[in-house]
Symmetry: C2
Subunit: 263 residues, 2 copies
DNA sequence: CGATCGTTTGACAAGGGTCAAAATGCGTGG
DNA sequence: CCACGCATTTTGACCCTTGTCAAACGATCG
């Protein structure tokens, strides 16, 4: 296997404009609150804490390294707007993107003391973050965090299956469905349409392919009416077909209630 | 991609004998206690709880499904002896093994209420399990569980990188190193030698390859003096070489102390 | 001693990688 | 407003790693 060693592209050009990023997610409350309240019933205290936290926003430019692999984790953020990713880079330049972080996701929240970062996290587009409120053991917020962590585990397991047993087209289909669904949870995707601020090379690094092959596969999918890409937006015209292709099932984390109404 | 549909082999023949499985791990205390006490300093209460739990052992035959994907998780076990795996099977028969569970590992321990199993878990060899003691929030045991969960996340992330960016030889090398190290933590590997109760097909299903290709790659590695396999035991004669091949770094989860002495 | 399961081999096919160059799009500075 | 520079997408030709299919071989077990 020949190795490559070159600069790593990060952000889709269309998405350098923070305005574009901000307007959708912040309308109608923080995406963090939205997402967590779909995972469990939040009480007033939790909602209060989340709303307070969401007032203390910070911005990070694209390419900024939020957390570095192996370093102690100091702060816990929530992502309010923009995309980030967890990645690992090998010494010969190969890169694996382990997961994408979307608005509403938590960063650096974990249960044990003196945690070290498992992976580097970098901003893909311009980000808006806020501190993640601390959750007392037993609180509704703690339950929400735990379910959020469980969901993250599902995504990792799904990713392992994608990389281990899916071919290129299946990987893309499955990833698109999952991503669309995650975005829909915070209102960032409507009618199977959603922003996709990634280069094909990033997609390749996430899906264990080369950018050339991602390109060809995307073209084939467009030809087959499975996908439309325009100006950094994706649209899935034939969701059924895609779902059939990969036996897609949305991730569920706990029995009984999920999908609680936003308070 | 042509699909396959056939019976799924589970256990290496050499390992049907429970005696073989039992003698090593149970010598010198439960592997669960050993492993957790290397993750954090356990207090007397935790040690007590773990020792009590370890008296209530249960056995499961190979191929038994311990937990089924999507079902509510009722019990929390610790694995005391034998190997199990988490797996996902696609409707066309393709299988992905998501991770292996080794002696000392926890099964079904999670933080939120009404959890649903993320994956099916099945016994590879005959198993010995015990109930996992409940951890009060803030206790040393809770800290140990949290660190254990964090470690599990590392393994998943490493697996994603393996599948996404490593070729066949690298995947095997990396997986062998990781597995050897995990076993060494509970004293199940000494001098780079360890039991490997897997068929090449299981290895293939874990590493995203076919059994034919695993076979050929293993042969090449043996020729190159990287690996010796005999009767279900593996030996790594040239650890340095293997580590260089994949830039292997053991997983670390928290700053300051790990590797606490067993009390 | 078949039956079964796992390993090994061979011949061949194909999905995906590599390399290189052209085409496209976009932001910047003149 | 245009031209230039840079990043990204697209294309083509070629090759290699890995998958597929099939059969032989070896062990283990009733």
């Amino acid at each position: 296997m020949i190795k490559r060693m070159k600069s790593l592209p990060l952000c889709h050009p269309q998405w350098s404009d923070p305005m574009t990023i901000l307007k959708a997610p912040l309308a109608g409350g923080s995406p963090l609150l939205t997402r967590l309240s779909r995972l469990t019933r939040l009480d007033d205290m939790a909602v209060e804490a989340l709303q307070t936290a969401a007032r203390d926003v910070r911005r990070s430019p694209p390419r900024r390294e939020l957390i570095s692999e192996g370093e102690p984790i100091r702060e816990r953020y929530a992502l309010l707007a923009g995309w980030a990713c967890r990645q690992r880079i090998l010494s010969d330049g190969r890169r694996q993107i382990l997961s994408f972080l979307l608005p509403g996701d938590l960063i650096g929240v974990c249960q044990h003391s003196n945690p070290l970062a498992a992976t580097t996290i970098i901003a893909i587009s311009e980000l808006v973050t806020c501190p993640a409120p601390v959750a007392d053991p037993g609180s509704a917020l703690a339950e929400a965090y735990a379910r959020s962590a469980a969901l993250e585990e599902r995504y990792m397991l799904a990713h392992i299956t994608r990389l281990g047993r899916f071919d290129a087209r299946e990987r893309l289909a499955d990833w698109l469905l999952e991503t669309q669904q995650r975005l829909a949870t915070t209102g960032l995707s409507v009618a199977d349409q959603f922003p996709l601020p990634l280069t094909q090379e990033m997609l390749a690094d996430a899906l264990g392919l080369t950018s050339v092959h991602v390109n060809r596969t995307l073209q084939a999918m467009r030809r087959d009416g499975l996908l439309i890409l325009r100006q950094g937006m994706a649209f899935l015209p034939d969701r059924d077909q895609l779902e059939k292709l990969v036996e897609y099932k949305p991730a569920r984390v706990s029995a009984g209630g999920e999908n609680y109404a936003t308070p």
